[in-house]
């Protein structure tokens, strides 16, 4: 033990250089592993802004009930489910499409908004195309009546205007209870918009079809496929970079360790001459390599962790959660790179004729 301690403590410079090579390798690998794991979560969050990727509905004229949304939400691989009701409303004797939904659930999901987001019932959004057609302004109060409903209708405050590039641009957007109140359709909904986990959409669709017999389920293929492809490509790219970095880092560590071992050829020759077996000499250097790997692995993880957080902060304006196994993986990779990198030069040095080494040949 004393020889090992001395070998480390009295050769700080050499050990630091070898450890630094491992630190660089592990920093790069920790960063890539962390980004690979963390970025999926972050990208998933970002991609959620694109909205639902599965629609559950019934045939024309029929409705689902509100509890469908809650039941689908509880399914595995489902991030969330939002119920929507489509119905016609009358404004100034003209019929318009309207959508009833939960404003809180869809807030910030890619809706281009001018004005304010509705804060409470009685406030609505209006599709951007209706703004000029109907000469509406934010803050104006308008009365909507459910088409085909004999009720008196209700007065609403226009909170803002939305632009989605779809049918919503020609519709009134109300809270679900408000639309129910003027159409009398409570607790019916037209569709449940489901946000399934990217990569597990087929499983979600199968589960919904299994549990709900009389519904139609449609995957919004373009969104789903694009998300899946994007994530797959990013992961593949990161995996390739990780392999290249791991390989080049190993070569770098191997050359550093190789140079260190070559410097110690006489030491190895001497050990052989005084009766050390190859296994005993190999163990001596392996223990040292494990120590260097541990130091480099821990140091590399700390730096890599900081790099990941810096990248995440810059790209997503938030920090990323790194699972503990990444720490274990980083340290293991550090030790493995260090040990395997020293194996070849040590084996090479063990093959030398100790008499020749000690003569200085």
């Amino acid at each position: 033990m004393v020889f090992f301690k001395k070998s480390i403590s009295e050769r700080k410079g050499r050990v630091a250089i070898a450890s630094f090579a491992v630190v660089l390798a592990v920093t790069a690998i920790t960063g890539l592993l962390g980004i690979t794991v963390g970025i999926r979560e972050k990208l998933g969050t970002e991609l959620r802004a694109y909205g639902a990727n599965i629609v559950v509905y019934t045939e024309a004229g029929a409705y689902l009930t509100e509890d469908f949304g809650a039941r689908i939400s509880a399914m595995s691989n489902v991030e969330e489910a939002t119920s929507q009701l489509m119905a016609n409303v009358v404004f100034e004797n003209m019929s318009f499409e309207s959508v009833g939904l939960d404003f809180q659930q869809i807030k910030g999901r890619g809706w281009r908004l001018s004005g304010n987001w509705p804060k409470e019932q009685g406030e609505i959004l209006v599709g951007i195309n209706l703004k000029s057609a109907l000469k509406l302004e934010a803050g104006k109060r308008i009365k909507l009546v459910g088409q085909g409903n004999s009720g008196p209708g209700k007065e609403f405050l226009v909170a803002g205007f939305v632009e989605m590039g779809g049918n919503e641009d020609n519709a009134f957007i109300l809270s679900l209870p408000d639309l129910w109140s003027i159409t009398g359709l409570a607790p019916k909904v037209s569709a449940v918009l489901v946000r399934g986990m990217p990569g597990a959409l087929d499983a979600v669709v199968a589960n919904i079809k299994r549990d709900f017999k009389d519904v139609s389920v449609k995957t919004m293929r373009q969104v789903a496929v694009a998300e899946d492809l994007l994530l797959q490509k990013i992961q593949l790219l990161l995996a390739l970079i990780t392999i290249v970095v791991l390989f080049s880092a190993s070569v770098s560590v191997a050359s550093t360790m190789g140079a260190t071992v070559l410097e110690r050829r006489k030491e190895i020759g001497l050990m052989k001459a005084i009766g050390a077996t190859k296994k005993e000499i190999g163990l001596f250097y392996k223990v040292e390599a494990v120590f260097i790997g541990l130091c480099g692995g821990i140091g590399g993880f700390i730096i890599g962790f900081a790099v990941i957080q810096a990248v995440s902060k810059g790209a997503f304006n938030s920090f990323v959660n790194i699972p503990f196994y990444i720490f274990g993986a980083a340290v293991s990779i550090g030790v493995a790179v260090s040990v395997f990198s020293s194996l070849i030069p040590v084996r090479g040095a063990l093959k030398y004729n100790s008499a020749a080494i000690l003569r200085g040949d």
Binding site: F3, S7, I274, E280, A355
Partner: protein
Amino acid sequence: MAFIKLDSASKIYETAQALRGVDLEVEQGQWLNIVGPSGSGKSTLLNVIGGLDSLSSGNVVIDGAEITGLSEDAMAVFRRERIGFVFQQAHLIPYLNAVENVMLSQYFHSMSDEDEAIEALKRVGLGHRLTHRPSQLSGGEQQRVCIARALINSPKLLLADEPTGNLDRENTRIILELLKKLHQEEHFTIILVTHDPFVSQWGQRIITMEDGKIKCDEFICYL
């Protein structure tokens, strides 16, 4: 029965033949010096006896054990049990102090014992240099550490390859006096390679090597 016995020992390197059918017997406790010009095969002969080099043909028996066919690791174990080495260059581990360098030999033999290592250094006159590193020791002192290291495990055979080759006359005499004293006390066998006529007169027997053969074998008066 001879303590060391070489039969028709030959060693052929890629470009030269270092030993040509050498026959040699050395008695237990004998001090044998090997002399001869450069390239005569004297160091090769020493390395073959110590198992640091292998024979191309012939065989070597030491203390009743045939070592010719031993694997490298088996030879290492044999070496640590029965042979001590002293080289021309000190070959001390630079980051270990004198005591630790001696203890390294104990470590591979059985167990490190600091008190024993200190005692061994005191016997070679280095009781005041125990914690000095090689860089803080003179050439003669370094060589004395090597002798302490070579003898710490009480080997039956000490092999010394030009142990005074890098030393001045005064230090050479100190080393030889030390070897003589230890040899008389412990009765181990010494085989010492040298090209220095002064050194070769220390001991009990001189063989002269030339072109891979023993040209002359003479017993001398033990100084």
